[in-house]
Amino acid sequence: MKSATNNAVNEVTLESRTEQVKQFALGAGANVVGVADPRAWEEYAPEGHRPNDILSGARSVVVVGSRGPTAGAWRSPNHRLMEVNGYDFRNDAAIHRVADVIESEYGHQAIQAPGLPTGGHLPPMSMMLSAVLAGLGTRSLAANIILNPKYGLLYYSACITTLELEFDHMLEQDVCPHQMCVQTFRRFGKTPCMAACPAEEGGCLDGSIDEQGRIESSFYDRERCVSRAMNFGINSFQKALAQIVAEEDQEAQKNMIHSDFFSRSCSAITHYKESVAQCFECMRVCPIGRAERKLK
């Protein structure tokens, strides 16, 4: 049995080690960082999609989040600007550095959790769920996006490691809905995000808020959202190609191949940054994190 003194030393070591890793992550470009317990996935993710399915012996999951578009980009009246330029992958860069330092300095295995889809839209592990379990945000009514209390929309990456770290926990206080949204829902039957993209008018979102001001129900049509958030890219390329190949009129086929739509689809495949996020309308009207986007 360990002595009380040894326990105290070990706990300080665990706490300080966790703090070191977190500070390193913030210095590497993350805006927020948290650590989740791999066992927490058991309640929320099916087998095959949990940290230990990716790295055996996983003891911690370090999750980082970083901002996407600049505050100025949110103000642009040209929606295409954020579509082409809204993402700089700083969260991925930060998590790679975290994984590197855990392996080189702490001698434990560490990998970047695979967040890109490998079968249709499905990734091996959900970065959004990772963010929730690491206490970095809660799932919202707006396309189930995870909203951070300070920054709102962030992009997340995770590092699965055999290094033991101190865990954070899911936030107790829901970030969404914001008080303003509770009021607009009670008065007008819609939150701003639902109003911006209403399911009953060909949009993606619907839901309700209960008497306590919490999400009561939510509806999100992901495939319609794909037509907007992945307007140009792999999806539109495949769909356009199907139409091109089926076209018998050679002139019409040539016009389809050289159309702006197909050109944009090809471009979004080549410049992967153009393919990441191509609709921000529900987030544009979201009050969470707005203070961070209010500049001069």
């Binding site: 100025g72 980009a73 103000r75 642009s76 050679q250 209010k294 001069k296």
Partner: protein, 293 residues
Amino acid sequence: MKSPKKHDFDETDFARAKAEIGGIAKQSGALVWGVAAADAFDDAPEGRRPFDLLPKAEGVLVVGGAQPRAGDWQSPNYQHMEVTTTSDRIHGLALKLARVVEDRYGYYAVCVPPGVDHGQQPFMSIAMAADLAGCGSKSLAGPVLHPEYGFMYFGAIVTTMPLPADSPPGTPACPAPECVEMYSAEGLTPCTRVCPIESGGCLGGRIEGGRIVERQYDQARCATRVQNYWVPGFQKVLGETLREKDSEKQKMMLYSSMFSRTLWSMTYSNVSQGQCAECMRVCPLGRAHRTRQ
């Protein structure tokens, strides 16, 4: 509740703030930098001016650099630069500076995308911004050239921060004295000789009194060279392949080096951007910086 003030600088001393930002740009790898006034873009079409990207824009911060290296220009293998030249590094720097402007100084900043908007149109001419910011001047060959460094890539950040603006260079860098001399002797400059428009190339022009008075540029032909294997090349090859009725021949086309190259170029577009640099290879501007052992 508003966030506490993020920055702590003297808001009456924008010249100093500008110098600080320029210092960060230089430390981060920029060769040149400058600021263009947002209201100086009269020659830009409507919809493509700084205010169209960011309401209440005051200026456009321009950074230049990420040139091909001296050794790159010397390679006798033309394919070498097809797969190594990129504006990605300077765009990354521009993104970083946009964050600095917002996080440190509290003003809005938008990084101008180097890609294109609908209809293959740029969001805003970064070349025009570079000229107006004093980072170089438009050349006969097309790219904005710096008098000392010659050809480089540029990034631009539109901002509401009222940084003191620079001016376009008084004397354009192009044509260089050597080019004026060559033109008076032969009626050609190095760039128009290597890619003459009257012989299936892209460039032509006239020089009088040491200045460009006429310029001819076949943009569509230039695209077949600069974007040799990229999306336009892919689209052309796709069209040809789909038209082929013989399935054996069609397979040959699908597996061809041409088709494969277009796919490589598309996949690795971050390093396969400028696929023809022949006009710049012979340009005398910046030559001193392209000379090594």
